[in-house]
């Protein structure tokens, strides 16, 4: 594949004209750190947007920033930190998980994949923070949607479609998004040795309390053992973790209250400041599963289904590794090697129609063979196909990345 490095928007417009005229597919990517998610895209020409960088507007008191799509998320985060602000959805960094380097991902990438970290249960998802998008559709038309203000219901919210569409509907060149204050303190209450069956009910008790828990995760002992924080790895037990944020006095008060709430459930510990932050990065980035190539699934499901779901998986694949985030609403499952479909049938059957399973990591052969994204019912896929046709009628943008081109064409 020939890759053109884009440095200004006009180059994209011209490339799109060329692609349309000759019906050439284009691989659209930022740093390529998430190129391993989705069906393999094979085109002769690619566009690399990682050179399209820069913060165009940042107004801390208005809680808003606008930046070009190729700007690195890590750079945005450093800049926000200077004003004691942050991206509240905790953008995860799957670089190392997918065999790449850390901190390579771009803004366009994180929003196009709509990836959110542990804070998602309270702070909302990446798409919830996306206020406006400028870019091009597959019609080679410049387009914009949304705005720079927090509250906007003017016309359809096409930002929602751009988020999570993996560059198959439009090429985002500039993104405007909401930023929020960084809490003064973050703390994490740890409860050791909680069995799987009790994990979600206990997290739910926390999340249903008045203590405003910002994140809730549960790691079985073998996953906790891979964390380099002594408090997590040391005891050799499973760990349930509840995160609290806020100004000093409030964080302290809540921490005490949560410890009281969990008294009698097992041994307790606390992570403060740096340890707390690095623990939640470990969870958000699914770092426990970095460093190998086994098929890795990310499942969003009703939290109360988490334990029966895992039981169903372990029943058929005892060597599957897993942990819970989002209070049980997010289950990571790493399948053993050797399953013909990477465990796709197993995880999707175990969902029993509630939720969805995405293959986050799998060999190119596997990603070409199975559906990395949850297959949709026919009536919905018909709408998806027409949406794709409305944005990109010639299938030139990341053709086949989410769904096979032929399947989409057949349903228009």
């Amino acid at each position: 594949m020939q890759i053109s490095k884009i440095t200004e928007e006009q180059q994209i417009a011209d490339m799109l004209d060329w692609a349309l005229a000759g019906k050439h597919g284009l691989t659209i990517q930022g740093a390529g750190s998430k190129a391993g998610i989705g069906r393999p895209v094979t085109t002769e020409q690619g566009l690399d947007l990682s050179g399209l960088t820069g913060v165009e507007m940042y107004e801390p008191a208005e809680l808003v920033m606008k930046a070009k799509a190729g700007t690195k998320v890590s750079e945005i985060q450093s800049l926000l930190r200077q004003s004691e602000q942050r991206l509240a959805f905790d953008p995860p960094d799957y670089g190392p998980l997918l065999g790449g380097t850390a901190e390579a991902g771009t803004l366009g990438g994180i929003f196009s994949a709509n990836l959110s970290g542990s804070a998602r249960i309270k702070a909302g998802s990446a798409r919830d923070h996306l206020l406006g998008v400028q870019g091009f559709t597959g019609r080679a038309q410049a387009f914009q949607t949304g705005s720079r203000v927090m509250k906007n219901v003017t016309g359809y919210d096409l930002c929602k479609l751009v988020a999570g569409s993996y560059g198959t509907l439009a090429i985002a060149t500039s993104l405007t998004f909401k930023v929020l204050p960084r809490p003064e303190k973050t703390r994490t209450v740890l409860l050791y040795d909680v069995p799987l069956e009790k994990a979600q009910p206990l997290m739910n008790r926390g999340l249903s309390s008045v203590h405003d828990i910002a994140a809730a995760a549960w790691l079985p002992a073998d996953i906790a053992a891979t964390c380099d924080i002594e408090y997590i790895r040391g005891p050799g037990k499973s760990v349930l973790a509840l995160k609290i944020e806020g100004p000093g006095p409030s964080a302290e008060f809540r921490c005490t209250a949560i410890r009281e709430m969990l008294a009698g459930e097992g041994a307790l510990e606390e992570l403060h400041g740096h340890n707390s932050e690095s623990f939640w990065r470990f969870v958000s980035n699914a770092s426990a599963f970095a460093g190998n190539n086994k098929p890795l699934w990310k499942l969003s499901l009703p939290p109360a289904n988490a334990a029966p779901f895992i039981a169903a998986i372990r029943d058929k694949a005892a060597e599957a590794d897993y942990f819970l985030d989002w209070g049980g609403g997010l289950v990571w499952v790493q399948m053993p090697d050797g399953l013909a479909d990477g465990g796709a049938t197993l995880v999707r059957d175990a969902l029993s129609g509630a939720g969805h399973a995405t293959l986050i990591r799998g060999s190119e052969a596997l990603r070409g063979k199975i559906a990395p994204f949850q297959p949709q019912p026919t009536a919905i896929q018909k709408i998806n196909a027409r949406i794709k046709d409305g944005f990109d009628p010639e299938n030139i943008l990341n053709p086949g990345r989410m769904y096979a081109v032929e399947e989409m064409k057949a349903r228009v």
């Binding site: 020939q2 208005e62 038309q141 929602k160 569409s165 009703p302 009536a379």
Partner: protein, 496 residues
């Protein structure tokens, strides 16, 4: 306000359509064709515009909705969905040749699921009824539009409703987990559920705020939150709106996101105070109501900071609610601002632009100039935290020409919002009210791209036509492609 010309062929077969719909709807009173009975549906919350529907139907089951839509699709009849009819932008305004589809019979809460912290409800359940159903157990549903006692949750999804607490807790879209809906061709589909995030294209995301143009919502799943342990409100008065606006920016800049942050101008303060004696100071130009929630220690911590910031910004009055009753009194004035203004003027029109907060002084100044120019008074209430303005233009519809003058004034205010980097509507929707102003904010191509989304859901354009988009394009026309040249551009840009 021009609506699409009624289709004479459809009007001519009205009796046959009534009979056809009666075959679908089991309830003998579920199909309404009597002119007097149809009167109940002639307008929504934007009562300046009225139109009798050709027929109204009140189905009781999702199957009936599906069959009604299939039937209307086959007969070439337009359909306007309606929840509680509280829209302030005319989203549920009937069409002369259309079937009005009322969802009032869908008024049951189907499931309260504390294990997954969500409620499943039929679309006609009111916003407040969801909170009422769970508050005994210490939970609530966060979005609280001021019409929450009457507005339906299905309508909230269609309009992406907000409220005074959305600065901290988000709009409907941030609290919605799933829906069941019926498309115009009668397909019943489920989007989302009790889990987070869409897989594939985020159809749930675009359905939210789609104003009844994409599908008919038949079930809603929303997340519920635990009610905060303490809530406290504070009134802060300023000698000028600029100082109040400055204070809002500095509070947020200091890292504080209050649960609510409202602002009222002098005119609104006086109207509200006369109406319900909330104890507002009358010698200030602008009043902030700031609500904090959480543990007492956090509230106290933030209140100390806010006091210092307010003083620094020139506040002349500051009062913290001592009791829950007092807190409710502080809010009573703000929540009654619309009826309070309604009492001092025969008619008023409520606008709904959002602006970048820093532009507030400029916008208020220009609005005062426009007020003089049009000779119409305007009162301002303002969701200060998120920049959502609600100017209330006072007029008397009995004076010939005054409604038109008010419309022109309102349009100028919204154009001004767009000019300073804001938007036409923050939470009330486009409907018919702002339809013809869409071109102020979007290019022709942007509007076409939005309409292509409409085509994906409703290729025949039967659902709620005449709303949101100033020009109706046929889907076939929108689908056409214009290809330019075929040369590989930029031989000079680096390739690898």
């Amino acid at each position: 306000m021009l609506m699409p010309k009624p289709n004479a062929d459809v009007l001519a077969k009205r009796d046959a359509l009534v009979a056809g719909l009666r075959r679908i709807v089991a309830n003998p009173e579920g199909v309404i064709d009597d002119k007097d009975d149809l009167r109940a549906f002639e307008c929504d919350g934007l009562s300046a515009y009225r139109q009798l529907p050709m027929i109204a139907v009140l189905p009781s089951t999702v199957r009936e909705i599906s069959d009604i839509l299939k039937y209307c699709q086959a007969e070439g009849v337009n359909v306007v969905p309606r929840g509680a009819g509280t829209s302030l932008s005319g989203g549920a305004l009937p069409l002369a040749d259309g079937v009005l589809l009322g969802l009032g019979k869908f008024n049951k809460i189907l499931e309260i699921d504390y294990d997954n912290r969500c409620v499943v409800a039929q679309p006609g359940v009111t916003n407040l009824a969801i909170t009422d159903a769970v508050k005994g157990d210490g939970f609530y549903y966060a979005p609280d539009p001021s019409s929450q006692i009457a507005c339906s949750i299905g309508g909230n999804v269609a309009e992406n409703s907000g409220g005074v607490h959305c600065l901290k807790y988000g709009l409907t879209t941030h609290n919605l987990l799933g829906i069941e809906m019926v498309t115009m061709d009668g397909e019943i589909i489920r989007l989302g559920g009790k889990h987070l995030d869409a897989e594939g294209y985020d159809l749930l995301g675009v359905m939210t705020g789609s104003e009844g143009l994409l599908g008919v919502i038949t079930e809603v799943t929303v997340r519920i939150l635990r009610s905060p342990e303490h809530i406290s409100a504070q009134l802060i008065g300023f000698p000028s709106s600029e100082q109040a606006g400055d204070c809002v920016g500095k509070i947020i800049g200091a890292g504080i996101i209050p649960a609510g942050m409202e602002m009222m101008d002098r005119y609104a303060i006086h109207a509200a105070e006369e109406f319900c004696h909330a104890g507002y100071p009358l010698d200030v130009e602008a009043l902030l109501i700031i609500e904090l929630d959480g543990p007492e220690v956090e509230i106290a911590h933030y209140q100390t900071q806010i006091d210092a910031i307010a003083k620094d910004c020139g506040a002349t009055v500051s009062r913290i609610s001592e009791t829950e009753e007092e807190r409710m009194t502080f809010w009573a004035g703000r929540k009654a601002a619309f009826p309070a203004v309604g009492r001092i003027s025969p008619d008023y029109m409520c606008m709904d632009g959002t602006i970048p907060r820093s532009q507030l002084p400029k916008v208020l100044k220009r609005m005062n100039e426009l007020s003089k120019q049009y000779g119409l008074r305007v009162a301002n209430v303002f969701h200060a935290g998120d920049g959502n303005l609600h100017p209330l233009i006072l007029f008397d519809a009995n004076n010939p020409g005054e409604l038109e003058k008010c419309e022109a004034f309102g349009a100028d205010i919204l154009k001004l919002c767009v000019e300073v980097g804001g938007v036409l509507t923050g939470e009330h929707g486009v409907g018919i009210e702002k339809r013809d102003l869409m071109g102020e904010m979007f290019s022709e191509e942007d509007l076409k791209q939005q309409q292509r989304l409409k085509c994906a859901f409703d290729p025949g354009g039967r659902l709620n036509p005449g709303k949101v988009f100033p020009v109706l394009h046929r889907c076939a026309e929108l689908g056409k492609m214009h290809v330019h040249n075929g040369e590989l551009p930029f031989p000079d840009i680096p390739r690898f």
